[in-house]
């Protein structure tokens, strides 16, 4: 495809915008991912020629779905001739021919939602749900997903095939879950989105240049889910991601070193994202149906809005709420930091000792680095150094390693200067 041709460029853009929608409806009509993909690609190649001659139709999505449907009927007829044993094929052809030619907007939207729930079905391994969603819902290519996750395209292709086979063999239905299952199934979708976001957020702190920005994909995907399903936790997650994203530029310095929240240059924060995130938090809180993402976003929104002093009391109360809704030792650790900020480092250290005594998080570097930080603040530098060394032995990410090494050098120097 020659790059310079404006018609082809326009089509490439339409492909990006429309392919996921067209595919979702074709999957519903055909009941098969492979048949649907084949039909969608053929519809686009017909469009390449037809739209050049007659211009782009008023409703390209409907045009592509309709063309894909005809192409699928042709393909099925051909398959029927080759494999006579499949009685289902004739039924499918008949169904397709009888199917209403015009798919309405609501159906197209519902199909997208069905596609999201199918790709994020808990019966599929989470490591497969993620690339499947990026491919079938976000419309990324296998190569793009592979490069974002630093695996070969062949490995990624295998994972995606594994997912499609699971859907096909176990007959995972292409439906919007029933009301009773909906909260759990929305949770599954949200955790896929958040994992995609975090992968993108972590990757950018390394020296990686990646064609696909996973964080932006996750935000885009969450916006899509919110437009289709206005649930408070979807709002909460979108808010949380926007608030994190607002600080992207500020959280590492020019050398790629980590800059802690308190020391970040606030001029680098994105006020547009903060404003949108804060508004979404308020909207989510107003629903009275408050879940883990909304609470985390509410905490992030306090940080994002505090210019001179932070309301630590309010943050502690939100962590208390989070401990009720979604308890975990990591939440307990974050709460300990907030308590240290309100009541002094000793109070924080006592909570951390409690977490440590329960044997939780002893392999989590942040437990030890936080402990080191608080020990340094009460002036116990030898103990702080020990804690930072422990953290350093556990951490894997290079920027975090560098940060801990800086801390160690600094505290060792202080001790030496005193002697």
């Amino acid at each position: 495809m020659p790059q310079a041709d404006p018609h082809n460029q326009h089509l490439a853009q339409l492909y990006q915008e429309q392919s996921a929608k067209v595919l979702a409806t074709l999957v519903r009509l055909l009941g098969d991912f492979d048949l649907a993909e084949e039909a969608m690609h053929e519809a686009f190649s017909v469009a390449l020629q037809a739209w050049k001659e007659n211009g782009v139709p008023a409703n390209p999505t409907a045009w592509l779905i309709s063309t894909g449907r005809f192409k699928a009927i042709d393909n099925l007829r051909r398959k029927k001739r080759i494999a006579k044993l499949e009685p289902d094929i004739q039924q499918l052809i008949t169904d397709l021919e009888e199917h209403n030619k015009h798919v309405n907007q609501q159906e197209i939207e519902d199909d997208q939602l069905r596609m999201i729930f199918t790709c994020c079905h808990p019966a599929i391994n989470i490591q497969v749900q993620i690339p499947l969603t990026l491919r079938e819902v976000c419309g990324l290519t296998t190569e793009e997903i592979a490069s974002a996750y630093l695996v070969t395209p062949a490995t990624m292709a295998q994972r995606i095939v594994r997912g499609k086979n699971k859907i096909k063999r176990t007959n995972i239905p292409f439906v919007i879950p029933q009301a009773a299952d909906l909260p759990d199934r929305i949770d599954a979708v949200l955790s896929v989105i958040y994992l995609i976001f975090n992968e993108g957020y972590a990757a950018s702190s390394g020296n990686l240049l990646c064609k696909v920005n996973l964080s932006n994909e996750a935000i885009r995907l969450c916006r899509l889910v919110l437009s289709l399903l206005p649930d408070s936790e979807v709002m909460g997650l979108l808010a949380l991601m926007l608030l994190h994203e607002s600080r992207r530029e500020a959280r590492v310095d020019e050398q790629g070193n980590i800059v802690l929240l308190a020391e970040q240059n606030r001029a680098l924060w994105r006020p547009d994202l903060i404003a949108e995130g804060v508004a979404l938090v308020q909207q989510a809180l107003a629903t009275q149906n408050i879940g883990t993402y909304t609470i985390q976003a509410a905490i992030a929104s306090i940080h994002a809005q505090s210019t001179t002093s932070t309301d630590w009391q309010q943050i502690i109360e939100l962590y208390d709420l989070l401990m009720k809704v979604d308890p975990s030792p990591v939440v307990e650790l974050n709460r300990a930091v907030a308590v240290a900020m309100r009541s002094g480092p000793q109070a924080g250290l006592e909570i951390i000792e409690g977490i440590s005594a329960q044997g939780k998080l002893n392999h989590y570097h942040k437990l030890h680095s936080t402990q080191g930080e608080l020990l340094a603040r009460i002036g116990d530098l030898p103990a702080a150094i020990k804690a930072f060394e422990m953290a350093l032995s556990l951490v894997k990410q290079i920027p975090e390693k560098r940060y801990l090494q800086q801390k160690l050098t600094q505290h060792k120097k202080t001790i030496n200067d005193k002697i």
Binding site: A123, N171, I172, P173, V175
Partner: protein, 116 residues
């Protein structure tokens, strides 16, 4: 589409009353599924101590008492159901009493004509 629901749980963690209640509930579920035309077959299995394992190696039968390895959960029963999709099979699995104590493994059954 047919699915087999394989029920695994720790045999030792059922009291006599619990077992009795489980059989009663399971029988009711089987009857309801039969009435809906969804049940192919279902049965509890005798305890793992009654199991015999057989392997044929180099043309020789090796017959041993019990299962090969000590596992925490044992196969205790099964259901074969005929439903439209995985979600419906999972819904039945979730209603089974042992799901609360052990694990229900849901597997689609391959039809012999799928093998060509």
């Amino acid at each position: 589409m047919q699915y087999i629901l394989l029920i695994y749980s720790d045999e030792n963690c059922w009291t006599e009353e619990e077992s009795e209640a489980c059989y009663k509930k399971s029988r009711a579920i089987s009857e309801a599924l039969t009435a809906q035309g969804k049940l192919i077959s279902s049965a509890p299995l005798h305890p793992i101590t009654s199991a015999t394992s057989l392997r044929v190696r180099n043309g020789k039968q090796q017959i041993t008492d019990g299962p090969f390895a000590e596992t925490t959960e044992q196969l205790g029963g099964y259901y074969i159901v005929d439903v439209d999709n995985l979600d419906q099979a999972l819904e039945i699995a979730a209603s089974l009493p042992p799901a609360k104590k052990g694990t229900v493994e849901v597997r689609p059954i391959m039809q012999l004509n799928e093998l060509n």
